[in-house]
Amino acid sequence: MNKAIKLQLSILFLIVSLGAFGQKPSKKTEQDFYEIKTLPIPQDLYLEVGGLATMPDGRLAVSTRRGEIWIVENPYQKNSHQTYYRRFASGLHEILGLAYKDGVFYCSQRGELTKITDTDRDGVADLYEPIYQFEISGNYHEYTYGPVFDKNGDMLVTLNLAWIGFGEGKFSKWRGWLVKIKPDGTLEPLSAGLRSPAGYSINDEGDIFYGENQGDWVGSGRVTHLAKGDFAGNPGGLKWAKEPNSPFKLTLEEIPDNSAPMFEAAKKVKNLKLPAVWFPHAIMGISTSDIVQDSTKGRFSPFPGQYFVADQGQSKVMRMYLEKVNGVYQGFCINYREGFQSGILRERFGLDGSMFVGMTSRGWGSTGKADFGLQRLVWNGLTPFEINEIHAKPDGFELNFTQPVDVKSVKNAASYALRSYIYEYHHQYGSPIIDVKDLKIKGISVSADKKTVRISLDGIRQYFIHEFVLKGILNEEGEPLLHETAYFTLNQIPAGDKLVLNESTKIVEAKVEVEVKEVGGKKELISETQVMALLKKHTCLACHAKDKKLIGPSYEDIAKRGYTSKQILDLVYKPNPQNWPDYATEMAPMSHIPAKDVLKIAGWINSLDKSKEKLLNRD
């Protein structure tokens, strides 16, 4: 008898329903509000997008990892669906950033910030001038991103660390830094501590934000506000803080490497900048890339002024809201739109307020299966029921919704699952979540327009990620939130009045009706549909599929390893990336998934290999 089956015999499957209303309206999905439009790409064109630049004449410029710049005509697909590609420039070295200014293109190659001009106006570039030549050692991981122009016309460039089993910046000057380069080629180093700064931009206040990928010294993906003299956490490039023009002095030896959270290190290292928002690994992406602020004044989204952060590995766009407390940025992230065709590297707004999304997944893999792609994210003008803003309060948070809420659901404690946690800060790759604490609601008040909900909590913690799962909150039509889970990074707790706890703010500890169903007969395996629901719920499907290699191995391949369910549980909680050396992206510890769910999944995984095991043993 197959031992994998034995393990599952006694597993019961629980379905928890909240029973707050009788008639359920059909659940709305992201595509009911945000459409993904695909720009067709000629079949022989490898449009591995490294950079995008919207042109004021209605065209779109796309730079590629194969070193070309293509100008796309009819990118808004107004009268016809078909687009037309003209090659503007070619022969460059992996262009991971593109900007268009005053009729001229600026791009980053691996070793150069280059100005590209069409001097004879024939539609094809003919002059390639270096603005700055970067030092490079030849390591493939020394990527160069940008430029992004600031308001003075200077160019910001970020410089990726080399990879030698860990991020290393010492081989070439200013690796791991954000630098500013003037049009005359003078370089000013601004901020250090960057590991893989693929996306960054300047907001309407002139502040620079960049997205970082989980890795060494980076417990999870995050967005960090970079001011001059900031050290964002990865010490790989600190060698260059010794240079006379470095805005600060700091050495690797001064960085604590004890797995305590980053905020503890920041108490000792004054330049260490904490992230504005953590993006919990594997849930809110696995490789944050571009970040843009919605500057379209309500054309792109129902969230003007908020930020949209892309993820390469999970092929999705997330939303980020920022507030400033005590002069420090903080806020939350929440899913926005998933389902893009490849790994997103670039986001740029089009003239019509839609967003061009440029993609490549070569070398890393992504949930979207295509090797590369070009799409456009278009809002249809309808506003979903969503968390609009979350503000920190002295005793908790204030949540603002896009629509009036159903007060009964909001006042029900069972509508919430709230907890806080943080990541370790150390030279190791990634981190489990640590110091997890469930949060209890002390009181709730709802504003007169029913759009703002104030929550008083027991034990909010400065610097921690506060997870909001608002499962039960409904709008007045009885609809749930389009996205129920948000992650707020609480860098600063503001001063001010606390919520008065009285009868009117009292939370209802309603009984939750729990139906326990036994699915099928006792001896039946958990069904694939049920497993798929679990896999989706716990975001496993972002990286794994049953029979295909995505970012991680397929479940069938995992099954071939013949792990016991207990071993699978251990590996889910504490992955061993060395088990899968052919996979570029390391798995994050998923210790927040309940063991019973993991064991169900493990049982199913092992059921995938019944026949193959015999076959394998034949040789």
């Binding site: 490898y46 990892r65 194969r66 070193g67 070619s90 022969g91 460059l92 070295h93 992996e94 190659q109 691996r110 070793g111 150069e112 280059t114 100005k115 001097t119 094809v124 570039a125 003919d126 002059l127 390639y128 001038e129 270096p130 030549q133 490079i136 050692s137 030849g138 493939y140 070569r362 070398g363 890393w364 390893r561 060395q578 088990n579 899968w580 050396p581 052919d582 570029a584 394998l616 043993n617 040789d619």
Partner: protein, 598 residues
């Protein structure tokens, strides 16, 4: 980390070969008087004959009595079966010769320089077989054109390397296996691989196939010269394994050390293989066998494994260490004739990577053999070529590239529809290499993450010195610190490079265009601006160990494999170091043009 290594130009593994001495004609069987031993040759690429200087080391075929005859073919005394044969050859314009393996199977030598379409009769082609019985016009068959034109200009030394397997016959003399060209490499380019021929070339020395025959050089079609003739044959006996046993241990062994462990399974094997066990990892296998050495000699062991291992002969450790299965680990050892103790311990204490074990043994004069079962050593990952083509217009592509073993980071490759290409170091203002044929192999840059980020020529390549070509008189060639790269402008589809040259207070434009005949690059260096130093500028047009002045304005850099050609001003040839010659030409006016021809 897995490494992706793709070699398109694969000079065969260096082999310890025998040399045919060219101090006299002793190695040849009754050579006609056209064949002589000489010292040196030179020729313009337009010449149909050589200028010969006497001496030793070069074998030359010259017309001496009116008309070439079949008896002018040169037969080696060497009678061979399987052979790995290599030599350098020089052809004057229009020359036609050939190498007949065993006097039967011809690889064509021909002045195919510049030809666009190639047939079996072009240089490196496997010349066709012939059968009158096939009917008029169909007599010729099984001719194989080279994969590409790897031919160099007449008057330059070229190299050819042929790995040939002789046909096999049974005891009754019946052929049981055809002759095979395992590899033909012309000027470093693999142009034929595993081409089987069912019979002899028309001009064969014999009327039927056989196990042995002499190397024959076709000498009846025109002048041709050879040097550095080397070969290896494979008639010696080599080592073998017998009484192979294995002991299998379970557990995590980080090192191939058995310690106190007890074997779980023991057994006997016909050949080494890891397939006797099912475990993916966490095991140790100890293979012990008798190594039978037929004759005292040096033997080379090449091992492959994923994990760690150690190979011991008579208890002496040879190959060892932690490796990926595609790594080739080689060690040589001197062994006496007779029985030796062979032991190989292999451990794999991690789950990833294919299980693999392979052992090859090579003795000079014998074929390399495997001690493992074929299935024990998996194939390397199959990665297809990513090619950048220059079909209808010039194409340029930046990448990293290796030049003389150093990785250059600021390189642009330029390919032309004429089939000419070059690599240029933007930081250095220097041509790194030029080549003919297909343009660029970008696989290492565009496959997966592209870890080396390098691109390589796809054609027959000439390495250049990689240095900025302008100097002030009596000064040494500078490096990039003395130059400021200002970019490039595309003119007529091709980049023109711009530099500030502070030492000369000048701006330099570097133009490279195909020359009028399309057989090389014409490089024009323009000086822009006025400077008191302008009159002191010299162009360094070659650095090479071997510089031969052919005629005014034409120099063969035989040590580097190309000609430089220019007009008017005479060159200065300087000794720039031990064994290093430098060719300089003073620049008159504000530009200097020269050609690179190969």
């Amino acid at each position: 980390m897995k490494k992706l290594l793709l070699f398109l130009f694969v000079p065969l593994a260096s082999f310890a070969q025998q040399t045919i001495p060219l101090t006299d004609l002793q190695a040849f069987d009754q050579p006609s008087s056209n064949w002589t031993i000489e010292g040196a040759l030179k020729a313009k690429y337009t010449d149909t004959s050589f200028q010969v200087s006497s001496g030793k080391g070069v074998l030359v075929n010259t017309l001496r009595h009116g008309k070439y005859k079949r008896t002018d073919d040169l037969h080696f005394k060497l009678n061979h079966g399987d052979i790995h044969f290599m030599m350098d050859f020089m052809l004057p314009k229009g020359a036609n010769s050939g190498i007949y393996l065993q006097g039967r199977y011809e690889v064509q030598l021909f002045d195919s320089w510049g030809k666009k379409t190639l047939k079996f009769g072009d240089c490196g082609g496997i010349y066709e077989r012939w059968d009158d019985a096939r009917g008029k016009g169909k007599e010729g068959y099984e001719g194989y054109a080279p994969r590409q034109n790897a031919c160099k200009a007449p008057g330059l030394w070229q190299s050819i390397e042929i790995d040939f397997e002789a046909p096999r016959f049974d005891a009754s003399g019946k052929k049981i296996k055809n002759a095979l060209f395992k590899k033909v490499i012309l000027n470093g380019i693999l142009i034929q691989e595993n081409i089987e021929v069912s019979g002899m070339t028309r001009g064969a020395l014999f009327d039927k196939e056989g196990p042995l025959g002499p190397i024959t050089i076709q000498g009846d079609h025109g002048p041709v010269a050879f040097k550095n003739i080397r070969f290896e044959t494979y008639d010696k006996p080599t080592a073998s394994l017998s009484n192979i046993t294995y002991n299998y241990y379970e557990g995590k062994f980080a090192e191939p050390v058995i310690g106190a462990a007890a074997p779980v399974v023991k057994g006997k094997l016909a050949a080494l293989t890891h397939k006797v066990i099912k475990a993916r990892n966490d095991y140790l296998i100890d293979y012990v066998a008798d190594l039978n050495v037929p004759e005292a000699d040096e033997y080379e062991f090449q091992t492959h494994w994923t994990g760690s291992g150690v190979l011991k002969i008579d208890g002496k450790e040879l190959n060892s260490g932690a490796h990926w299965y595609t790594d080739k680990v080689t060690m040589k050892t001197q062994l006496s004739a007779g029985k030796h103790r062979f032991e190989l311990i292999h451990v794999k204490d991690f789950p990833w990577g294919p299980k693999a074990l392979g052992v090859f043994v090579k003795r000079v004069g014998a074929h390399e053999i495997a001690f493992h079962d074929r299935t024990s050593l998996p194939d390397p990952e199959a990665v297809g070529l990513i090619e950048v083509k220059a079909l209808s217009e010039p194409v340029y592509q930046r990448s990293f590239t290796f030049h003389g073993g150093k990785k250059k980071m600021y390189v642009i490759h330029v390919g032309d529809p004429t089939g000419l290409s070059y690599s240029y170091d933007l930081k250095q203002g220097a041509v790194l290499q030029t080549w003919k044929g297909s343009f660029l192999n970008a696989t290492q840059m565009w496959q997966d993450r592209g870890e080396p980020q390098t691109a390589e020529p796809l054609g027959q390549t000439v390495l250049m010195d990689g240095k900025f070509p302008l100097v002030l008189s009596s000064q040494m060639q500078g490096d990039s610190a003395q130059l400021v790269y200002k970019g490039y402008k595309i003119m007529h589809g091709r980049p023109v490079f711009y530099y500030e040259w502070p030492a000369a207070k000048l701006v330099v434009e570097d133009h490279l265009n195909p020359n009028k005949l399309g057989n090389g690059w014409e490089r024009t260096l323009k000086l822009v601006g006025t400077s008191p130093m302008a009159s002191m500028v010299e162009a360094v047009i070659g650095n090479s160990p071997d510089v031969t002045e052919i005629s005014p304005g034409l120099i063969a850099l035989q040590g580097s494999g190309y000609y430089v050609q220019w007009e008017k001003t005479p060159a200065l040839i300087l000794q720039s170091g031990p064994g290093k010659m430098q060719v300089r030409v003073p620049v008159q006016g504000n530009s200097f043009t020269y050609q690179l021809i190969w």
